[in-house]
């Protein structure tokens, strides 16, 4: 019922691309006077193929930057601030405004006035300057390649995760399955990373991570199957579109949106959420890097930016999982009616769809943060028992319920 801020990311970027290519073409044509073959190059740049390719490149870059730079830093900041408040302290406070030189802070010593938003950037810069240590006995090639596998497979989930009805890279018919498939590649990377460092902590951590992530991807897939009974599709945009209406029960329209969480899918929602907490390795299920007994789990031997990447991608997994949950069960980016004002027939979004979606993602993430900082860690055999003896029967039950509702109509 609300309109997206970016109705068509591809179209938007195409304008940008056309402008860039036009400028480049003018330069090339200007140069083509002395060097005639360049004119052909200029013509080639104007073809549809090049424009489409460059546009896709720009779209992908925009989304990658949006995800990694803006959302990653924000979610890390939110987490650090939130759990600090939970623990009765301020958390990160040093910001640009406390830098001890002229335009910022006249006192010539750091102050603690800021909100600390750029602290994570500073941490990243620090990590870049750190030496990268490879253990002598490690399997060097695997040790270096597995973070790439983990990072890129997690990032791939964002290729099909739409941020509104217009802000996406690709609109696949099997988008949800694609995200789950992207998640399912990480256990192998973690396992190889843990094995290759030739360290006992990483080995045990990697094995635990693999066993846990494998176990919990089954309930997630089963919960999605239960959802398919109602949606009949795995396209995220279609799924959200189905939820963008009020519930009609026995002829009366209730003032409740028709999110899949309200109704027979509630059990599936619970199962899926728990499975996703495990998939993002947060505290009740963060046994792969149980820092108390396995120093830092499978990331023990990574140092410098490698550690930064494998560490930061935990938050990316959290973003992706929160987005997935809100698309599947919480109505995605559908906002209330007042979010859009119609001038004539043109919808003008006061709060665009992206806002509602980001709100849901961050709300879910905040819930996960609070949850993870208020419960202890579960033991690995208990985790697996929960997964196999509770979640899988429950998810099968959710399938039965969904099928039953479909049979009854």
């Amino acid at each position: 019922m609300s309109a997206p801020l970016v109705p068509d990311l591809f179209g938007l970027c195409k304008v940008l691309t056309a402008a860039i290519i036009w400028i480049v073409q003018q330069i090339i044509y200007a140069l083509a006077g002395p060097i005639p073959p360049l004119a052909g190059l200029g013509d080639f740049l104007g073809t549809d193929f090049v424009i489409t390719l460059v546009t896709w490149l720009i779209v992908v870059t925009v989304v990658v930057l949006w995800v990694t730079v803006i959302n990653l830093f924000t979610i890390m900041w939110v987490e650090r601030k939130l759990y600090s408040r939970l623990q009765d302290r301020y958390g990160i406070m040093i910001s640009v405004w406390s830098l001890p030189f002229w335009p910022f802070n006249r006192t010539r010593r750091p102050t603690h006035r800021g909100t600390g938003y750029l602290q994570n950037l500073a941490d990243g810069i620090k990590l870049i300057q750190k030496e990268n240590i490879t253990p002598r006995n490690a399997d060097s090639a695997m040790f270096h390649i597995s973070p790439v596998l983990i990072a890129s497979s997690t990032l791939m989930a964002f290729a099909v995760l739409p941020w509104s009805s217009g802000f996406y890279v690709a609109n696949l018919d099997l988008g949800i399955l694609f995200i789950l498939a992207a998640f399912s590649l990480a256990p192998l990377g973690i396992l190889i990373a843990g094995w290759s460092a030739n360290n006992k902590y990483t080995l045990v951590g990697g094995l635990r991570a693999a066993a846990m992530l494998l176990s919990y991807s089954i309930p997630a897939v089963l919960a999605v199957i239960a959802l398919v009974f109602f949606t009949g599709s795995l396209n995220p945009i279609v799924i959200v579109g189905q939820q963008d209406r009020p519930i009609v029960l026995a002829g009366t329209t209730l003032p409740i949106p028709a999110w899949y969480v309200f109704g027979p899918q509630f059990l599936g929602f619970l199962v899926f959420t728990v499975a996703m907490i495990a998939e993002m390795e947060r505290v009740p299920f963060d046994i792969p890097e149980a820092e108390a007994e396995l120093v830092e789990g499978w990331t023990t031997e990574y140092s410098g930016m490698r550690f930064g990447i494998v560490f930061a991608f935990k938050w990316l997994r959290m973003l992706a999982a929160s987005g997935l949950i809100s698309i599947l069960y919480l109505g995605g980016w559908s906002g209330p009616v007042f979010a859009t004002v119609f001038v004539g027939s043109i919808p003008i979004p006061i709060f665009p769809e992206e806002f509602w979606f980001v709100l849901r993602v961050y709300g879910l993430s905040a819930f996960f943060v609070v949850l993870s900082w208020s419960v202890p860690r579960v033991r690995i055999d208990q985790i697996l028992n929960i997964g196999w003896k509770r979640l899988i029967p429950y998810s099968l039950l959710a399938i039965l319920i969904a099928a039953g509702f479909r049979v009854l109509g």
Binding site: Q129, N199, L384
Partner: protein, 123 residues
């Protein structure tokens, strides 16, 4: 058709692969690199490591991985079944509709049995 919609995914895959790789190569410009024998030692709480870690390792969760693969394949069957549900409803044969429940039941019982047995044997 679907193939065109996968073009951005392929581009995204390339960028996603280049992103960590690029980060790692970029750090080479900034970081020091002075390996010493002591620094390159495997971390084992400040002690000299005892033995190798890449050994034959008794890991009792192997059974879980085995059951996982079975379940994964089964989940795919279920997914197809869920997609075909609407079609099955219109077709009159109840056997096609509900035989999957038999399959589900058998698989569930077998899994629980395997898990119970594993508790006795392994953990």
């Amino acid at each position: 058709m679907a193939l065109e919609s996968y073009v951005p995914v392929v581009i995204f895959a390339v960028v996603a692969l280049l992103f960590p790789l690029g980060t790692f190569f970029a750090t080479r410009l900034f970081r020091p690199d002075h390996p010493t024998p002591l620094k390159d030692l495997t971390y084992e709480c400040g002690e000299v490591p005892e033995g190798e870690a890449q050994i034959q390792f008794h890991f009792q969760y192997y059974m879980f991985a085995l059951i996982f693969v079975i379940f994964d394949v089964a989940a795919i069957f279920l997914l197809l079944w869920a997609f075909a549900w609407g079609g099955l409803l219109t077709s009159a044969s109840p056997v096609a509709k509900f035989s999957i429940f038999l399959f589900l039941g058998i698989m569930f019982v077998a899994t629980q049995y395997a898990l119970k047995k594993e508790e006795v044997i392994q953990i």
